[in-house]
């Protein structure tokens, strides 16, 4: 595997993960936006409606809408349909909260990294991403070694 680029992000919720990028340029409310039973994006107004976030690295600018989004994220982590990781453009406390409470209750969370604008927009759909504990994001256009 060749790592083509290393992006230096801020680990909002620290963790390591791998997955292919599911990229959106639109904010999303996770409650009303993602099904915690199937991982499908169910906001029918959203540009990625119908896609499934499960095990992907979900790259979208930030959350919006419902304050129940933290509950939706925690439930998704528990049911196993959550993304492998989340990459945002700005810190969304409600998303971080879902992970932090899940970690407190189940010792299970997913990493959330915030990138600067240039790095955020450099990630393309389908890029193979490795998230490291310190918030580094390794980007490769080739499949990752397991």
């Amino acid at each position: 595997m060749t790592t083509e680029r290393v992006l230096i992000g801020r680990a909002i919720v620290a963790g390591s993960a791998k997955g292919t990028a599911l990229v959106s340029r639109e904010p999303l409310s996770l409650w009303g936006g993602i099904s915690p039973h199937t991982g499908e994006i169910i906001d029918r107004r959203h540009e990625r409606s119908g896609e499934v976030v499960t095990d992907r690295v979900f790259v979208f600018p930030r959350g919006k809408g419902s304050s129940t989004s933290s509950a939706t994220l925690m439930e998704s982590i528990k049911t196993g349909v959550a993304p492998a990781a989340i990459i945002n453009l700005s810190v969304d406390p409600i998303l971080a909260l879902g992970c932090i409470v899940s970690d407190e209750l189940y010792c299970k969370a997913l990493p959330i990294v915030v990138l600067n604008e240039q790095d955020f927009y450099s990630i393309k759909e389908g890029d193979h991403l490795t998230i490291e504990l310190d918030g580094k994001v390794l980007v490769s256009s080739k499949p990752l070694a397991k």
């Binding site: 009303g32 959350g63 919006k64 809408g65 304050s67 129940t68 971080a96 409470v101 209750l105």
Partner: protein, 424 residues
């Protein structure tokens, strides 16, 4: 950077105030780190959103805190819950769901929360005052509390709300601080007919538009009339906090931190100025509907956020217009109004409760069509006057939605099909 903790914070964190407070404080301190807060601060009131959704994890969280002896330390109201606690059987909710919902309700009430069960707490009980530091959940209520009341809250998500209520502490950051409440962008209403600005639908439509324009910025709106009602601002907040993430807006001459334009921008300049024309609002209105005119209608939902007494009165008046023409509710249409005990208590003292009941209006309290399983899977098309309901219904309920004002909702319910025309 480590968060500076007070002696009491340290005590909370090391368990001297009990295991629930310890867990709550641990979550709060981790959130303070996420938000780059330097220290913690007091809040004197909380509104819990985490009691709304029924999920296995949410129930486990509430019962965990309750079993660890969690008690709120500040006055704490509850958002709508997953069940109409008195009438759930009438709405066909299954017992398994109801059992869990009642357990969740009991966990929060057992921790000392006040059973208000409403998503419009600012029209109900324990309304915060100007400048009061509070920890509120529920997106529409957060926006209303900050903007209309001038209380100070961040966007508290499910679960940190009860942590704040138990400890009375939150990370000191964001909208709790005056300097972060200054307006950032200016939205000017251009040549909008004042008559339009009297209609309630206008506020849901404007909210839907402003939510999508503002992004993560604090908008200042110029041109709203100063006699705008609480229900209109409620409709605006609910729509804007759904299409966007609006937690605070200023409306010049209307909201308390915007006596003037200078006041709203705290003597600074807007980063951007955007004109809003009638055509922008018409596009926003069209975007709220996915159903087509003439589609067979299954369900009308009003009361998102919870219906006020005044809205009940308006609805009764619109129904009378129909019944005086011998029109009745179409047999294939269900008509649900969602409200809270506070408004319903007033309604019971009114002279129009019978008008609503005779027409076939079903009133449900304490809950919400999105959180309790009362919308049957055969429901294909719904109609609402709420920007928030219109935003979430297609995804959350799997239905087509039509947005119209309250009069159009009543007319459509009589006709049995969507009778929608632009309200502007």
């Amino acid at each position: 950077m480590a968060v500076k903790l007070s002696t009491r914070d340290e005590q909370l964190l090391n368990g001297q105030h009990g295991k629930a407070a310890q867990m709550a404080m641990r979550i709060l301190v981790r959130m303070a780190e996420v938000q780059d807060a330097v220290e913690m601060m007091d809040v004197s009131q909380a509104h819990i959103d985490g009691c709304g959704l029924l999920s296995d994890t949410g129930l486990e969280f509430a019962e965990t805190l309750a079993s660890k002896g969690g008690k709120v330390s500040i006055p704490t109201t509850l958002n709508m819950g997953p069940l109409d606690l008195q009438n759930w059987k009438r709405f066909g909710v299954n017992e398994d769901f109801a059992d869990k919902a009642i357990r969740q309700a009991n966990a929060y009430i057992g921790m000392g929360c006040i059973p208000t069960w409403t998503c419009a707490p600012y029209q109900s009980y324990l309304i915060p005052r100007f400048g009061q530091q509070i920890a509120w959940g529920e997106s529409n209520a957060i926006c209303y509390a900050n903007s209309v009341l001038g209380a100070r809250t961040n966007r508290y998500g499910d679960f940190i709300d009860i942590c704040a209520a138990i400890t009375g502490r939150v990370p000191k950051c964001g909208l709790h601080l005056v300097e972060n409440r200054r307006g950032q962008i200016l939205l000017k209403l251009i040549d909008i007919d004042p008559v339009i600005m009297h209609s309630n639908a206008f506020y849901a439509i404007l909210g839907h538009l402003v939510g999508s324009i503002a992004g993560d910025k604090i908008p200042v709106i110029e041109g709203l009339p100063n006699n705008v009602s609480s229900d209109q601002l409620k409709a605006f907040c609910a729509a804007a906090a759904s299409s966007g993430q609006l937690a605070l807006f200023h409306a010049v001459g209307v909201t308390p931190e915007a006596n003037s334009l200078e006041n709203a921008f705290q003597d600074g300049k807007p980063q951007r100025i955007i004109d809003i024309h009638l055509s922008d609002l018409q596009k926003s209105e069209a975007d709220l509907s996915t159903a087509r005119n003439g589609d067979k209608l299954d369900l009308v939902v009003l009361g998102c956020p919870h219906f006020s007494f005044d809205e009940f009165r308006t609805l009764a008046r619109l129904i009378k217009v129909q019944t005086e023409k011998d029109k009745t509710l179409h047999p294939d249409v269900k008509f649900i109004v969602i409200s809270c005990q506070t408004s319903y208590a007033l309604l019971q003292r009114s002279d129009f409760l019978d008008v609503l009941a005779d027409f076939g209006i079903e009133i449900t309290l304490d809950t919400c069509v999105f959180h309790t399983p009362m919308v049957s899977s055969e429901t294909k098309v719904i109609m609402t006057n709420s920007g928030k309901c219109a935003y979430y219904a297609p995804g959350q309920l799997g239905v087509q939605v039509a947005f119209g004002d309250m009069a159009q909702c009543v007319e459509s319910a009589v006709a049995g099909c969507v009778r929608r025309k632009g309200t502007l």
